[in-house]
């Protein structure tokens, strides 16, 4: 017989070890999970916004999950500018119609996709947003055009509850 004899002791040794490892892992989990977002944070995961006070050409910033969300009621000029861009010229090609459910309303997370600063509105070479930290330029659709940011400004999940109210999250 070439294989080593497996004894009762080997079996007990391995099963005890496996049991201890499973126990230790399941005991460790609560200590890891306690740092995840808790129930009180999850309860704030959606925000409803009344759009009525915003006139064309005006933006507001709302808080959603502790992050700023830009809501801009775009002018016709901005919409046209966003639509006429050749997608092939974009570092991260996305059509404006994929980014705004209603062309008049642009809703996006106001955090630069480079390293997390908040970009300034209506600044930069493309008349959209400009991040002061490391010089990323975004256009009127929040798409990255120039600078170190890798992707366009993120669009959160949102729905129009009616003509004048949206719900983010």
């Amino acid at each position: 017989m070439s294989e080593k004899q497996v004894t009762r002791r080997n079996f007990l040794y391995v099963t005890t070890g496996a049991f201890a490892a499973a126990g230790a892992a399941s005991l460790a989990w609560p200590f890891v999970d306690q740092m995840n977002p808790d129930a009180s944070v999850k309860a704030l995961a959606s925000t409803e916004i009344d759009l009525r006070p915003i006139i064309p050409g005006q933006s507001i910033t709302v808080m959603w999950r502790g992050k700023p969300v830009f809501i801009r009621r775009r002018t016709q000029a901005e919409i046209d500018e966003a639509k006429k861009v050749n997608l092939a010229d974009l570092p991260h090609p996305e059509a404006d119609s994929d980014r705004a459910q209603n062309p008049e309303w642009l809703v996006m997370v106001g955090i630069c996709t480079h390293l997390g600063c908040v970009p300034l509105g209506q600044k930069g070479d493309y008349n959209g947003w400009f991040c002061p930290c490391h010089g990323s330029h975004y256009d009127t659709s929040g798409r990255i055009r120039k600078g170190p940011a890798p992707t366009n400004l993120e669009i959160p999940n949102y729905v129009f509850l009616n003509e004048t109210t949206i719900k983010i999250g």
Binding site: W29, P30, F31, D33, Q34, M35, N36, D38, A39, S40, V41
Partner: protein, 419 residues
């Protein structure tokens, strides 16, 4: 023992040549010679180390969610219980862990008393242990204040007022402790800071405790000196590692029983009511592990006297190695001490019972007798016993008491022949 250790891996050797940390760990945990007859009462040292580490780890994660401010503390504890993922589990482990820590430390101390582990040459181990116990008391008390419930608040009020008993400067000292003119936010914040610090001081003392222990080696149930490395000792690993692990698993069953089935059994319901500086709860008691000392405090009808007696009840432990005049360690060979030590244990339990009762009538009278007996044990009984007690003959080795008469004769004959 540790000098001839060489790590197996090249990295281990490289490290160990530059910093012999592995030598140190190896020497103290693996071949460390241990008396071969240690019973399960000796497993509580390991259990206590586990308790300390558990309290530090659970405390660390609780501190990530707790807010030490009088306006927010109570709500933040409720937030831990309801919102934080597994917060209820972490808090119940921490709260019940404190109780089990004291349970284990009382057993550990009782073992030392019974088997005379505090005697020469182990006095310093015992004294370091008394300091660990003192720090544990302070840590547990401050920790109990943090949830800022009614018991927290009024416990803090009563205990900090003990310092007002100090003549002349009492009031200034209490105001200094409070950082104000009553218990409030400043006290809560400083208690939180100290509660976080003290476990690490305890940890440092535990290292000294174990270091001092490993100089003479463990005492044993026979209480006789054993020669390290003789037939009376076995290596710590695997013999006592396995025994300690088994005892720890049994201890964990009890621990889990408390945490998962009766997590509030040892607590007080009044502590789920937020602190109210305008109303004292009807019946205020400390946690169970302080009850014997609380009974001593209350048995004295004088403010300063009560405080002095309560502090003395703990301080007197540090002098135990010199108050006990008997040279024989183990109660097994001390027929009188064996009875008195059980009487002492019973008396402490009685004091604990009295501490939970209202301090009047018969309870107060019994409390005074029990307090007097507590001190009499140390000041009168122990010093006298050393002179009047006729101790039993001590065995020459650990094997001797378990040998049959024939084996004993054979051994005696063999040693006689060789002499």
């Amino acid at each position: 023992m540790s000098e001839n250790y060489a790590p197996k891996s090249a990295v281990g050797r490289w490290f160990n040549d530059r910093l012999p940390l592995l030598n140190l760990i190896y020497g103290h945990l693996l071949p460390y010679p241990t008396p071969k007859n240690l019973n399960y009462w000796w497993t509580f040292g390991g259990i206590l180390t586990f308790c300390l580490v558990t309290q530090i780890i659970t405390g660390l994660v609780l501190a990530m969610h707790y807010v030490a401010d009088a306006d927010l503390a109570f709500a933040s504890v409720e937030h831990i219980m309801r919102d934080v993922n597994y917060g209820w589990l972490l808090r119940y482990i921490h709260a019940n862990g404190a109780s089990l820590f004291f349970m284990a430390v009382y057993i550990h101390m009782a073992r030392s008393l019974f088997y005379g582990s505090y005697k020469e040459p182990r006095e310093l181990i015992w004294i370091i242990g008394v300091f660990i116990f003192l720090l544990m008391i302070a840590t547990a008390f401050m920790g109990y204040v943090l949830p800022w419930g009614q018991m927290s608040f009024w416990g803090a009020t009563v205990i900090t007022n003990l310092f007002s008993a100090i003549p002349l400067v009492g009031e200034s000292v209490t105001n200094w402790l409070w950082g104000g003119y009553a218990v409030g936010s400043p006290l809560l914040t400083r208690f939180f800071t100290l509660h976080y610090l003290m476990p690490f001081l305890i940890f440092a003392l535990v290292i000294l405790h174990v270091w001092a222990l490993h100089v003479p080696g463990n005492n044993n149930p026979e209480g006789i000196n054993v020669v390290q490395g003789s037939q009376d000792t076995v290596p710590f690993h695997p013999h006592y590692v396995v025994k300690d692990m088994f005892a720890l698993v049994v201890f964990l069953v009890v621990f889990a029983g408390f945490v998962f089935f009766v997590p509030n059994l040892l607590g007080h319901t009044d502590n789920y009511i937020e602190a109210n500086p305008l109303q004292t709860p009807e019946h205020i008691v400390p946690e169970w592990y302080f009850l014997p000392f609380y009974a001593i405090l209350r048995s004295v009808p004088d403010k300063l006297g009560g405080v002095i007696l309560m502090v003395s009840a703990i301080a007197i432990l540090a002098f135990l190695p010199w108050l006990d005049t008997s040279k024989v360690r183990s109660a097994k060979y001390r027929p009188l001490y064996r009875q008195f030590v059980w009487l002492f244990f019973a008396n402490v339990i009685l004091l604990g019972y009295l501490g939970a009762q209202t301090a009047d009538g018969l309870f107060l009278i019994i409390g005074r007798i029990a307090t007097a007996y507590y001190f009499a044990h140390f000041i009168i009984i122990l010093p006298l016993l050393g002179y009047i007690e006729k101790t039993k003959p001590l065995p020459k080795s650990l094997s001797e008491p378990v040998l049959s008469p024939e084996e004993r004769q054979m051994k005696a004959a063999a040693s006689g022949a060789s002499a």
